[in-house]
Subunit: 895 residues, 2 copies
Amino acid sequence: MSVSETRTEKEQKVDTRFTYAFEEGNASMKYVLGGKGANLAEMTKIGLPVPHGFTITTEACNEYHKAGGTNPKGLREEIEARRIDLEGKMGKKLGDATDPLLVSVRSGAAFSMPGMMDTVLNLGLNDQSVEGLTAQTGDARFAWDSYRRFIQMFSKVVLEMEGQPFEDAMSVIKDKAGVKLDTDLTADHWKEVVAAFRVLVKAASGSDFPSDPDEQLMLSIEAVFSSWNNKRAIDYRRLYKIPDDLGTAVNIQSMVFGNKGEGSATGVAFTRDPATGENARYGDYLLNAQGEDVVAGIRNTSPLTDLGNELPECWAELSKNMETLENHYRDMCDIEFTIEQGKLWMLQTRAGKRTAASAIKIAVDMVKEGLITKDEAILRVHPDQLDQLLHPQFGKDQKVDVLTKGMNASPGAAVGKVVFDANTAEERAAEGEDVILVRWETTPDDLHGMIAAQGILTSHGGKTSHAAVVARGMGTPCVCGADALSIHADEGYFAVNGTKVNEGEVISLDGTTGTVVLGEVDLVDPVPGEEFEMILDWADNLRTLGVRANADTPEDCQRAREFGAEGVGLCRTEHMFLGDRLPIVRHMILAEDDADRSSALDDLLKVQRSDFIGIFEAMDGLPVTIRLLDPPLHEFLPDHTEIQVDIARMEASGGDAAEITAKQDLLERVQKYSESNPMLGMRGCRLGIMWPEIYQMQVRAIIEAACERKSSGGNPIVEIMIPLVSLEAELETLRGEAIEVATKVMAEKGTDVEYKIGTMIELPRAAIKADEIGRHADFFSFGTNDLTQTTFGFSRDDVEGKFFPRYINRKILKANPFETIDSGVLNMVEIGAERGRANNPGLKLGVCGEHGGDPDSVKAFHNIGINYVSCSPFRVPVARLAAAHAVAEGKLEAK
Amino acid sequence: MSVSETRTEKEQKVDTRFTYAFEEGNASMKYVLGGKGANLAEMTKIGLPVPHGFTITTEACNEYHKAGGTNPKGLREEIEARRIDLEGKMGKKLGDATDPLLVSVRSGAAFSMPGMMDTVLNLGLNDQSVEGLTAQTGDARFAWDSYRRFIQMFSKVVLEMEGQPFEDAMSVIKDKAGVKLDTDLTADHWKEVVAAFRVLVKAASGSDFPSDPDEQLMLSIEAVFSSWNNKRAIDYRRLYKIPDDLGTAVNIQSMVFGNKGEGSATGVAFTRDPATGENARYGDYLLNAQGEDVVAGIRNTSPLTDLGNELPECWAELSKNMETLENHYRDMCDIEFTIEQGKLWMLQTRAGKRTAASAIKIAVDMVKEGLITKDEAILRVHPDQLDQLLHPQFGKDQKVDVLTKGMNASPGAAVGKVVFDANTAEERAAEGEDVILVRWETTPDDLHGMIAAQGILTSHGGKTSHAAVVARGMGTPCVCGADALSIHADEGYFAVNGTKVNEGEVISLDGTTGTVVLGEVDLVDPVPGEEFEMILDWADNLRTLGVRANADTPEDCQRAREFGAEGVGLCRTEHMFLGDRLPIVRHMILAEDDADRSSALDDLLKVQRSDFIGIFEAMDGLPVTIRLLDPPLHEFLPDHTEIQVDIARMEASGGDAAEITAKQDLLERVQKYSESNPMLGMRGCRLGIMWPEIYQMQVRAIIEAACERKSSGGNPIVEIMIPLVSLEAELETLRGEAIEVATKVMAEKGTDVEYKIGTMIELPRAAIKADEIGRHADFFSFGTNDLTQTTFGFSRDDVEGKFFPRYINRKILKANPFETIDSGVLNMVEIGAERGRANNPGLKLGVCGEHGGDPDSVKAFHNIGINYVSCSPFRVPVARLAAAHAVAEGKLEAK
């Protein structure tokens, strides 16, 4: 069930009553009745045995909060009437001394928030009705146990008392009685417990425990309303992006008891296996128990299928009901049931939560069974879930020693020995060891170590830090910006929250969640099976949005292709400027003169050409968008503060004068490239305007590589992309220069290759002026990372760790705009798309920011008419599925 | 005449002929015929004595260049026909051996580009026609002198020969003849000169000097076309923002001669004094001379009024013609005339260039004379000219020793002794000396020295650098980013292009042009007179756009008020955080804990309150928009690189351990605030969200100050402005917090003051989401400096000095977008204005970026419906006039 669903007009304009009897509602009313209430109504409607009850609407909860914690006018009267109606249906009365009605009071929001809000059971018990319950059941022990459970729960939920004093009081009585287990206590013991509990309540609240069932009921309902805004509920909503203004419904339902002896039972059932998706009844139950005993895990439960032996008639009925429900809901259902003295009651149903593997298998099987359509099957698998199937994960149910959490920068889990530098990482890896590279943050110098490592952990930098970007590209798990880490690489350890971890010690990390664990965690390898391929096939058939990959090496391209990428949407040439090429690049930048620079460029030409040949080969027949050099040149240079520190140290300690002069000379040249805001400085196409020879070299390398591939029978599809354009004349000039070089190269080689020239739209001005810029572009690729930075005026490095947490906490930001496209930035993309096409209707539009791999963003891009997205290879399946979701959801909405 | 005028539709779609006889055109055709051609036609039309001729259109020139330097089809034939027509009118033929026609060939673009393009005179002379000229004039010496002048000019302009060989050849002949002056050479000598010149031409070009007049004519025309794209013409257009695609017209006109003896003369006349504006004939002339002799300054000219004595009839006619022209053009005219043997010929007229003082006086006088309307008078004064009247300037006609040029960061000129630090500046100034503070760049620490200095010179930083912003605010002349300067403050000197300037030496600088001069230059003080006030009064009556000032102190406010500001549009509170308050501010930022911070905030509260009291007093009855703290906090902290260098030095030289630890501690705290892109980091309202106590202190100080003013009978009009908003919830939250504080303060004080709360719109997202943000704002103020930075993705500090020159040179940028609002940024402002008003129709819209003082930008803001601009106090008169221009131009267009 997706959170992005919204209330329909009709649901919003529902009439103003605050309560519905179960038989008055249905499953479509979840925004009014909550998920639980709507499904209870639905089960009632289709004739399943549901204990009578009624639901108080979410609207009542919202009104309650709006009025600062006061029940809306008329609510109390409606509840009163419903209570009387319920008593009539049941032939019992709340608090009755002979045959009392007991009810449960449960929360139930539109989206499941398990355990986040409050519940009160056995409501209606007091000193009179407990006798009635005894009389009806002939079981004083059961009655008094129920009574003490009610007091305990009510005290916690409504009176907000601590649980420990109650536990302590029970222990005292058990000790006095000389018994260990609750089950060994007699009715008289429970009476004693009840008396003790009443004393506790009086002491804590200053009043007697409320004995009037109406008061009990109203207080419980208000407690459930309040629990909508308790801290854990708010945190949960934040995590799952559930809106705060939905409110919770409250369900008041006649109690049935699974703990009325051996003919009674309570359990949870799934119509299919939620872990594997296998089409078989699944679940567990307890004989003679109440529902919370199953959940609490106090006693060992029995597998559901045993019920056939123990209570065969009930099993047959339950089994039939399960089939009814699955066919009715056309989905795997999660069911709660209770058997009271041989009579089966259905207490709850909902779509069952499931693993990714299970979600896929169930969806595919149900299509085969003719139960759902392929469109529906696609919508049953959340794109983000696919990640579980593409990377190793921490195995379930392990006890782990969590050291700290950082940002979940690159998904998947890894285990290895801690190393603090790239060389050691490479050496140890060469010796066959698994290592985790731990750095303050990484730089281009660390690349070989990053390649060698199983995982990467940094204490600084956000999700676009060097470490994060490179790791995602390689599919290496990475946790970034774990700022609790204090790294003492010189002394061979890092410390975190008082724990010292030495080089060589084993740690595990989960880049999907950001968790860092001391010691080894068992990993589970992904096994995307046949159904995985099938659902993606269906998705491919449905979607209209193209999906490409961001890939910079032949290996990445290969992987992207295997994951179904239809081309490369972003090949970053600067990644080819690192590693063993860095000296050549530095040479080029710091060149003494043109001749010197030209020789460095020649060296780069050779290596770039061979890079491109490999990439065109891996992507033969598919388009490859190569972005010309983008980052500020000083990123390739040593840090100027470090040089200044070196000079100061050398000078103070009487260092060699010549060396000092050389350093000073280096400093001067490096400082020429130093900028106060490099993100807004000399980068992207501005480099191309200032040093035309760099782009000319790159275009030459690209076209030479394409010619060579074509001559050897390949089919290179070339797209040259010019980054960071803000002015029409930038693109016009650089396009002209590129065409000139390309024409020359093709003449030299005697080969003709087709190529396109386009631009990144990643600055607000480029979007605003897309009409002018579009005249000179064969394609646009929206660089939504940078566009988000400039549209917001946020430098991701500076804000993500520093003030986003506070912003999200204070509800100033709803989500991290670097993960899910922001509506303002999306509007900027829309403006760019519209204006770009206005002057150039055939303009192809792509998105190559990180958002290209985020399902919500992918859908947004589809909806504004983007042609393709491009994301890291591992996100390609996610994007394919998300693109299909967009179409399927569109069809649903159109209905 | 403004360059922003553009061709009307009608002019653009003019018919396709390439030539117009003078009697066929008129003054409105300057885009077709050039300024000179159009005015020759106009003078012909109104019956003034203009020698016959015709004009080749600018379109022909453009076609010529488009075809890569080839005459457009049909042009030669048209010229041929025109030549024949001209010969018919004159009764003479080009090259005729008995009575030859001679013509001049002159360039003439739509905008005057004096001396930038080429001219050929005396065309039509050859060995035959020189005899005809002799016969007609009876003056062989004159004829042969004219012939040699023609060869010399043609060789230079058309054949692109150097001038020196011709001068040398003449010297040889003069030596041989034993004469010193040209005028002493006889006809025979000139024949010799001609012969020698022909030899030179043959040697240089390999061909004979062309004797066919048709060939002479076509070659000269093409040379004039080509001169449109010579370097000095291009540079001139760049300087005056004249579009490159206008092209030049070519005027072919029958020659008349002012050098035919004592009854002949040539001169330049102005209908009013171009320096003072006085209503009196002004100009100079030479008897018996050709036009270029007047310009070249070879002989001393006579004042125009002497002509009445020497050639009274001609003077009477000229005087009448001048009156005719002034009344016809309704403007001061600049006229060229020639008297040939007693006959007056009008050769050119145009609107005369004039000083600011003259422009104002002429405009006001002409209104008084009933010649023009007030609207026209307003349009006759360029807003930028007013600057001349508000700041001291370098006096004219001084020989100065220009050291270097930097950016013209704050207008006006200053003279003083070089000092290299703020303390010395303050000390010397206290001793009564004038000093110029020379710094690498300035920091808040330098403020006292900047206040003390007459002028400020920095080698780094652009027009928004600290030095520039502070200097403009104070009205202190400043030249920034003079990067040829190599400053050796420790050694007490700076060097520039090989010149060493020691501390204490006198330099002069002109912040209006960016010029730095060695030694003392005489300055001229501005004297804005009665007419200045009058024209601004008229402007105020006409304009609808409000004009406020950016002012941070009571003194600035006072000055702004004197300059006519209608309020303060931007009062930057961070400037109040500098100087002697810096220690308190650092204390606040680096506070150990909340209590510590709170005590620093209390200190700041006191000083801020007293600041605001002063400001409200100075602006009593006018609105004051106070911006809450905006810059990143680390701007108030020491530089982290410097601390690291200190530590390294102390460590290497065995410094005191405790001191080192203290430094390291400081470093750690400073580094917490260090950012990779501070422009996009923790600043503006983000500070307000992170540390609510800072804004709360500021709001308290503002409201307390307003209450105090009100209690003492003042009328404070308070507007609180929250900077750098990108999200609706930022403004909503901070507005709520501000209102809470204000309400509390007013209750404490028992006084009610009205206040508004608004926001800066300076991020693209704020403009895009102005509909949401506008719901919580009483006003928007567009911060177009930052908006330009983020819309373009340009950091002004990083790009202005580094790549703007290249961008402008390569025509990629048409103008510096930080000076004149860019069309893309303007569109962003438009979107913000539109969307903001959509949800809040009463929203008041201002602009407080530097653009608020730029005339073109002011007009653009007027045109999109902005309510007011705010600029530095000294630009207020400029903005007032520009705002009036916008209305006057709008009226004209509507006609």
